[in-house]
């Protein structure tokens, strides 16, 4: 399974943690589209804690963390 953790406003109307069957997803972009999140809404995409571009490949066992812009003061 691929574990997907959403943070901040991405959680609104969605589960904060989801588990997806790996067969249906080849890239991080395909996963964010599953959640109906647009590419340009993603500020940070981490795959197993590492910064990753949205065209990065994903595989079974990966943990993906997605963040919208957060940084005001």
């Amino acid at each position: 399974m691929i574990e997907v953790r959403l943070f901040a406003t991405f959680r609104e109307g969605r589960d904060k943690i989801s588990y997806l069957e790996p067969q249906g997803y080849h890239t991080a972009a395909e996963i964010i589209h599953y959640f109906r999140i647009a590419d340009d809404e993603v500020a940070i995409c981490l795959i197993n804690g590492r910064h990753s571009k949205l065209d990065s490949s994903v595989k079974d066992g990966d943990v993906i963390a997605l963040f919208p812009p957060v940084g005001g003061g």
Partner: protein
């Protein structure tokens, strides 16, 4: 005695209190995060506090920036912060610096700091501060908010930085939504991390992105990794 209650904490004690008194912390940005950061560091007896900001108080600040009052509108924030904090704890030395940070002046501004705390509201300045702290090997405490959410983490050379996690791609659409109480949570956590660093305690949030979700009342930590291709780290080495 002013510090009696925190000297009772075994991780602080009288020895730690002396360390705090001899410490120098630079806070960048004097907005919502800086209000609790500066207040709690002044309370704790951190001996020297520098505050860098180039902004004046507006009425839209007052929902979260509790160092300022309506009568302060239009005045430089560093001036008011100086007055408030000096009255709050006359034992500390406070350096208000009314200047805009850029790549050419950051090095000089933070060179004496034991810790830098980033309380700015824009990505560009955060990236400048991030690189400067890495370059000078000064621990940096980051914090940010958006509505009911916020994050905190700590940075130094051996650990991931803002550029490692791709934060530079963040496109904030000002003004960022901000609830005073949430900003207070995040700023308070930044002050805690700073005090831990100054005291040499373990458990600092290096390599750990602590996320606060105020809507469900939870804290979650995401382990983050250094990026071998991080230009900020390559720039240092």
């Amino acid at each position: 005695m002013r510090y009696e209650r925190q000297i009772l904490i075994k991780q602080v004690s009288e020895a730690g209190q002396k360390i705090l008194a001899n410490s120098n912390v630079c806070v960048i940005g004097s907005g919502g995060l800086a209000s609790p950061v500066l207040t709690y560091l002044a309370c704790a007896g951190v001996g020297t506090l520098s505050l860098i900001d180039y902004d004046t108080v507006t009425d839209s600040n007052l929902n979260r920036q509790f160092l300022y009052q309506e009568k302060d509108i239009g005045k430089p924030k560093v001036q008011i912060a100086n007055e408030v904090l000096s009255a709050f704890n006359p034992e500390i030395i406070f350096h208000p610096i009314y200047q805009k940070i850029d790549k050419t002046n950051i090095t000089e501004m933070i060179k004496d700091a034991d810790v830098v705390i980033d309380c700015v509201d824009n990505v560009e300045t955060r990236m400048i501060v991030n690189r400067a702290c890495l370059q000078q090997n000064i621990p940096l405490v980051e914090g940010g908010v958006n509505g009911f959410y916020g994050f905190v983490f700590a940075i130094k050379q051996e650990y991931p930085c803002l550029e490692c996690i791709g934060y530079g791609n963040t496109k904030l659409k000002p003004p960022t939504a901000a609830l005073g109480a949430v900003v207070g949570v995040i700023g308070s956590l930044q002050a805690v991390e700073c005090i831990k660093i100054l005291l040499g305690l373990e458990g600092v949030l290096y390599g750990k992105l602590l996320n606060y979700d105020g809507l469900i009342g939870s804290f979650e930590t995401v382990e983050i990794q250094k990026n071998d291709m991080c230009e900020a780290h390559l720039f240092v080495n």
